[in-house]
Structures are given as structure tokens and as C-alpha cells.
Subunit: 222 residues, 2 copies
């Protein structure tokens, strides 16, 4: 089944929102999509007719299995294009979203299969989000602490284990967040401290303790 760009945007947004709540409500989707509640209701009816949605009037909604599968197909296209724009065309990772938003609606299966191959079947996109595979399965991504990372390997921050006030203050200071592009430039064996480089930030030094609490994805490809 084929869907319009508008339908696809709704499907994708519902998928994103339903991760956080049992039922998605009309107003939050309207806010997310920058549209009006009435427009959302209209589209909900349509998606229900097309059997993508669990929807009971006044009581919220949620994608069913078919809907989730479709969402994952769209998200896959979006993230593959983002990967392309950054790694092949050299665009900044924080500027690719709106363009991928347009490219994702080009729906040739053959195109996406070939693009995926051409890019080396990447498993995470430039924002650190996992790319669903051709069957709509989100890859489970391994993580490593910064201190276990080979030198100069470009990686993406996936999580931080210590969420203390102090840790957050430091991360903030260095401009490190989930999704940040990061690499280790030097490791000082003496105290286990690391010189690191976060994209668009000057190089800096962090302690071994900090390094042990910052995790990155193990591999962009697998």
C-alpha cells in the first residue's frame, strides 16, 4: 500500500510519540506536528480506515502492528538519507533533518535497498539513532565506555551512566550530549585521562572517571 507524504508524516509522528505513553492524544500530536486538533482527528479517521491505527473516539490512539511496520519503513528511509547527506555529501549532521524529511517520501524499494548497500548497511544515523533494517527491525546496539575506544575512531555518544548534578554540569561545559560526535585523540596512561574532540568544539581533557561513565555506540556499521 502506498501513502501520501502527509499520511507518512502522521504515521511517523505517532510512532515517535507512542513510545512515551500508553495512548497518544490528539492535542499532543497536533502540537508535535504544528497543526490543529481538528486536522489530527480528520487524519486519524483516515488512518483507521486504512487499518493502521487502534483508535477509540475521545480515548486516544496508537499504531497497530501494520502501522508500526509502516512507520519503521519511513524511519529507515529518513535515517539512511541522513547518513548519506552527512557521510557522502559532507553536510553538517544538525542540518540534514529537513532535507531527509523530503527525501524519505520517495518510496522506491529498489532505491532504498541500493542506497543501503551503497552506504555499507549502516546501523546508526548521524544523530546516534538506530536505523531499522529492511525487515523493520531496530538493531540492538552495543555500547562501550570512552576509555575502551580505539584512538581517533569517530563515535556517537549513546548514554551516560552517572546522571548526577556534577556529571551533568561537566558534560554541559564540554558540550557533550546524547548523539554528540566524539573521538579520542590521546590516552594518558599515567592517570587514565583522555584528550577528546567533540565535533565543533575545541579538543579537551577528561578524567578516567568521566571516561568510564560516558558510553558510545560500539560500531557505526554493526
Amino acid at each position: 500500500m502506498k501513502f501520501s507524504a502527509s499520511e507518512e508524516n502522521y504515521i511517523k509522528s505517532i510512532y515517535t510519540l507512542q513510545d512515551k505513553t500508553e495512548k497518544v492524544n490528539t492535542n499532543s500530536l497536533a502540537g508535535y506536528l504544528n497543526t490543529r486538533a481538528a486536522s489530527v482527528t480528520d487524519m486519524l479517521k483516515k488512518l483507521k480506515t486504512k487499518k493502521l491505527l487502534e483508535y477509540k473516539k475521545y480515548y486516544g490512539f496508537r499504531l497497530n502492528d501494520a502501522g508500526e511496520k509502516e512507520a519503521l519503513r519511513i524511519i529507515r528511509r529518513h535515517r539512511l538519507w541522513e547518513f548519506f547527506l552527512v557521510t557522502k555529501l559532507g553536510m553538517d549532521w544538525d542540518k540534514v533533518h529537513p532535507i531527509a524529511e523530503e527525501l524519505e517520501h520517495v518510496s522506491s524499494n529498489d532505491l532504498i535497498k541500493r542506497l543501503d548497500n551503497y552506504l555499507g548497511q549502516p546501523k546508526i544515523d548521524p544523530h546516534g539513532d538506530p536505523i531499522p533494517d529492511a525487515n523493520g527491525v531496530m538493531p540492538v546496539l552495543k555500547q562501550v565506555a570512552l576509555n575502551q575506544l580505539p584512538l581517533r575512531k569517530n563515535s556517537i555518544v549513546s548514554s551516560v551512566s552517572s546522571q548526577t548534578q556534577q556529571m551533568m554540569a561537566m558534560l554541559n561545559h564540554y558540550g557533550i550530549g546524547i548523539g554528540s560526535q566524539i573521538k579520542v585523540l590521546k590516552a594518558f596512561d599515567f592517570d587514565g585521562s583522555l584528550q577528546i574532540k567533540i565535533s565543533k568544539q575545541p579538543a579537551c581533557i577528561i578524567s578516567e572517571l568521566a571516561a568510564k561513565n560516558i558510553f558510545v555506540y560500539d560500531d557505526n556499521k554493526k
Copy 2:
């Protein structure tokens, strides 16, 4: 100024048709776009309002300078994407058109500039059609006869100088046409004959006389 995908399709089609006639007429455009004359008339009014069109009711129409410039921008996007699909994703040149038809409407200038650079600023697309440059200028393409072409260089047939019945019969037999992908595998000095390969065709031998009358573009890039 931004245009809808539908407006862009009309602009591009008018550009193509007005090459062959002084004034384009409603029915021929309707036929070309597989739509109805009434729909064409509606769009003509819109394009005239947007000052892209010379249009006098009942007497045909034609893009003005602004319209032609816009058409060339769209054609540029289309042909760059076709080049990408064939050379990077390995798609067959005769299957890329419908996909490029969708991709061409993604209108970020930065995207197209980067794509162009990434592809090496190609000057002709996989069908042998010239790619307008960033200023909307169609490149003037040099041509060489087949017998002057280096061995194994992939080229595209641009023209044939002898349009006799006999020549046509031979070209037909070998499956050679304008836009065919071709390369010379061997040159036999003894009689000047060439072994050539046309894509999707078995290799074959042509005489020196034939080779001197088949021209290809001098260079894919310049």
C-alpha cells in the same frame, strides 16, 4: 520563489515541448502529461499569474525567460539524480527516470550544489542529455568519432553523421541509438575495424567506415 511538484512538472514539460514549436498548444501538453485539456488551462492561468509564461487565450503559450530559467533548474536536478542513481547506486539507465522524477522536487540549493560536486560536476546524464550548470546554462558538448576514442572508455552515442537507409539498418541491427552506452574493446589496425560493446548487447565488430560515422560525447565530465 518556490513551486509545487505539480507546477514544476508543467514547467519542465512546456520547456521540452517548446523546443519543437513556436507556440505550445493545450492539447499537446495535456497529451504529454497524460491529463486533460481543462487541467492544463487551469495551470496555465496559474503560471501566467506567477509570471513564468507568455500566454494568450486560444493562441498557445511559451515559457518566458524566468520560466525557462526555472525549467533548467528542475532539469538540472533531474539529470544529476539520474547520474547518481546510475553511477553510484548501479541502477540501469533505462529505469532511473521515474525515481529521478520524484527526487527532482527536493529543492534545497545546498543539496544540489553538494550532489553536483560529489558526482564530479558531470556534464551529461546517463541518457546522453546535457546537464545544465548551476547558472542554468546547457553545456556545449564536444563529440568524437568512435575510431578516435581510447579503448574501454565508457561513452554515450551523441549522433550519427550518415543517415542513409543502409546505415540505419546496421545501427538497428546492433542496437545502437542516440544515448546508447558504448565502449571500444579492441581496434584492429589492419583494416581499422573495431570490436565494440553496447550495454546489454553482446560485443560485435564494426567497420572503420561505420566507426567514422558514429559520434560520442568527448567526455562525461567536460
